[in-house]
């Protein structure tokens, strides 16, 4: 299992576009992937679940990965968060 701490860095926060991208990226990997905010855990392979995460700029989240390709999954997803979802 891998846990990574991330912070939302883009201005618009975790709105629909990045939410969709996160789920799309997550589905490429076999590993389970959960996003934890304030102790509440959401299955990130569920787009509707990710959409319920209100995460504005500055919010701290924990990304949890578990599975055979967890290293790759962690790297790809964490990177996406850290890049601010490729937005300003």
């Amino acid at each position: 299992m891998i846990e990574k701490q991330v912070i939302i860095v883009n201005n618009a926060g975790l709105h629909t576009r990045p939410a969709a991208m996160i789920t799309k990226l997550a589905s490429r990997f076999k590993s389970e992937f959960y996003i934890v905010k304030n102790g509440v855990s959401v299955n990130a392979k569920s787009i509707i679940g990710v959409m319920t995460l209100a995460a504005a700029k500055g919010t701290e989240l924990t990304l949890v990965f578990e599975g055979e390709d967890e290293i790759d999954a962690a790297e790809t997803l964490t990177d996406y968060f850290n890049r601010g979802f490729d937005e300003p």
Binding site: G13, H15, T16, R17, A19, A20, T23, K24, N43, K45, S46, I47, I48, G49, M51, T52, A54, A56
Partner: protein, 589 residues
């Protein structure tokens, strides 16, 4: 007898005919999410999967259309909605619950999605409320598709459909079912229910406001499409009265049909060309039976509905070829997709004013793939050289020129591929926007033919929404401005050195009261719903062109709609009524 009875509803007579049958009340807006036990999980599971599939197709249609036009944010929302339909956790939970609790999918879909909506609504973030609405949208879409399937399977036998409003998407359901008449709460003379009814040659009464409230599912009702009446659970006297009328109508109709083989000429031998408008393939037989000399308008939007998405080039090619072959040696005018507005696509792009919005040729030019595919299919289908192309909603010359560029491109490709015997298709423009009417001469220089679309032309000239039954009476065919404009278009075109055909394809062409006026203005080509051909021909056979011309000259000098209407009524009553079988006779006592 009739007026005093309390079981009579009065609305707008929008498609002629009479019907007496059991009714089927179809209330689409009402989404039934009540908890119902299911007996067969596998069947319910399949229904859910089908509904999800259908919802996905609907959304993909929107998504693939010039997504960049909708904006990134909008596009992302559609994409997310499509992804929700495949969400493994959501769908998995719904199916598990259906299996364990043996409850209907509508209830569980509503319940499960509502949970997510609750979380979103509880958030302080503003954008979460917006997301909740997006979830509402997808939730309703799934439930609607679950319900539609039920509706479809329930319409068996010959019934009269009573509904709030008919969307173009409903035509797929109803064209295939054996519907005997339409009765709707909303809509006016040119609403989709009316147009569909005329295509199917069945009566329709629209704009009743509360038909769906007053009529109960299973009630026996009489629909009088001539007088705009609906009689609920008729008494013996009413049944007898109408049974006689129905019998007489069928006799008159079969007599009229015999005139199919007679060419349409006025008493003083002016030849008038009669063409048909085609929506549904089912109409081709009626077209030929009623003596159409070709198709003046193939409305291709129907293909969108039927193929639940973009019809690909081959699908289109097959359809166009079929129509062209069946009508040969007559010509077939194919209008390229006139989507948007009140037409086809389940567009979620909420334009404030879709009539003045992104539709017709402007929409096509923004979607070059769509345009090219269609033109390629039409060009390829032109093997018998009897197909012409018509451009909708043209406002300026450069739109025509750009379409011509695409035609040239496609033609070149075909030539290079070795199809040397196919000729380049001829092109026409719809005159339905005032700017096009004003520039009739310039447009005529650019194309091979013109087709006047009075439905929209009148709307734009008089600033009236035809589907709005509150003001539908302001939609006036005989408004002096309309008469003058039609006169200008027809006379300008005919005065040119270049031979450009001008035809009229709006509902006005089928209005027999307007016929003498239109012929008097010089119009000699009409394209109407095939069901209305016999009546129109009857009128033409019984008028004198020189008298019609005098009538038209007189009307052009009148300043009010009332005066023109009265003049036309007078002409009809004195010169025509006594000569023809009057199908529109009053059935009131």
């Amino acid at each position: 007898m009739l007026k005093s009875s309390s079981n009579i509803l009065s609305g707008i007579a929008s498609a002629p005919g009479l019907a007496y049958s059991e009714c089927y009340v179809y209330k689409k807006e009402y989404l039934d999410i009540s908890k119902v036990k299911i007996l067969d999980f596998e069947e319910a599971k399949q229904n859910l999967l089908d509904a999800l599939q259908k919802s996905k197709k609907e959304l993909l249609k929107v998504f693939s259309l010039a997504v960049d036009k909708l904006g990134q944010k909008r596009a992302a929302i559609f994409e997310a909605q499509i992804m929700i339909l495949d969400d493994p956790i959501l769908i998995g939970n719904i199916l598990d619950r259906m299996k364990n609790e043996l409850l209907n999918p509508e209830y569980i879909v509503n319940d499960e999605i509502a949970k997510y909506q609750e979380i979103m609504n509880a958030s302080d973030e503003l954008y979460m409320k917006e997301r909740s609405l997006d979830l509402e949208d997808i939730k309703n879409r799934i439930i609607k598709n679950l319900q539609n399937k039920k509706w479809l399977s329930k319409i068996t036998g010959e019934v009269i459909v009573v509904t709030d409003t008919l969307t173009p998407a409903d035509t797929v359901i109803f064209a295939k079912a054996k519907v005997k008449a339409f009765v709707t709460d909303f809509g006016g003379l040119t609403s989709h229910a009316a147009i569909l009814a005329r295509s199917l040659n069945i009566p329709a009464v629209v704009g009743l406001h509360d038909a769906t409230k007053k009529i109960k599912h299973g009630d026996k009702i009489i629909v009088d499409g001539f007088n705009g009446l609906v009689i609920i659970e008729p008494n013996d006297k009413q049944i007898k009265f109408y049974s006689q009328k129905i019998e007489k109508l069928s006799l008159v109709t079969s007599e009229l049909e015999k005139s199919a083989y007679i060419p349409a000429k006025t008493l003083d031998n002016k030849k008038i060309e009669l063409l048909g408008n085609l929506d549904l393939v089912e109409e081709i037989d009626l077209m030929k039976k009623n003596g159409a000399e070709g198709i003046g308008l193939v409305r291709t939007e129907q293909l969108f509905i039927e193929s639940m998405g973009f019809p690909d080039e081959n699908e289109q090619y097959l359809r166009y070829t079929d129509i062209a072959q069946k009508l040969y040696p007559y010509e077939v005018v194919i209008r390229i997709f006139d989507t948007g507005g009140d037409k086809v696509l389940p567009f979620d792009v909420k334009e404030a004013n879709p009539f003045l919005g992104w539709r017709g040729v402007r929409f096509l030019l923004d979607n070059p793939d769509l345009l090219k595919t269609q033109i390629m299919a039409i060009q390829r289908a032109n093997q018998l050289n009897n197909i012409k192309l018509l451009i909708p909603m043209v406002t300026s010359l450069n739109e025509i020129r750009k379409v011509k560029d695409v035609i040239n491109e496609c033609y070149k490709v075909l030539q290079n591929d070795g199809n040397k015997n196919i000729q380049k298709i001829k092109i026409g423009a719809m005159i339905e926007i005032p700017s096009a009417a004003v520039m009739t001469e310039e447009f005529a220089e650019e194309v091979d033919f013109l087709s006047i679309g009075t439905n929209d032309l009148i709307q734009f000239l008089l600033a009236v929404d035809r589907g709005n039954d509150i003001i539908s009476s302001l939609y006036q065919e005989f408004h002096p401005a309309v008469v003058k404009t039609l006169s200008y278009i027809i006379k300008t075109t005919k005065s040119l050195n270049k031979k450009v055909k001008v035809s009229l394809c709006g509902e006005m062409a089928a209005d027999t009261l307007a016929t003498p006026l239109l012929i008097g203005l010089g119009l000699d080509s009409f394209s109407i719903s095939p069901a209305a051909l016999p009546q129109l021909k009857q009128v033409i056979l019984n008028i004198d062109y020189s008298e019609a011309k005098d009538l038209a000259d007189k009307c052009l000098k009148l300043k009010t709609e009332e005066e023109i209407n009265s003049e036309l009524q007078g002409f009809f009553n004195t010169k025509i009524s006594n000569k023809i079988n009057n199908l529109f006779e009053d059935s009131n006592e």
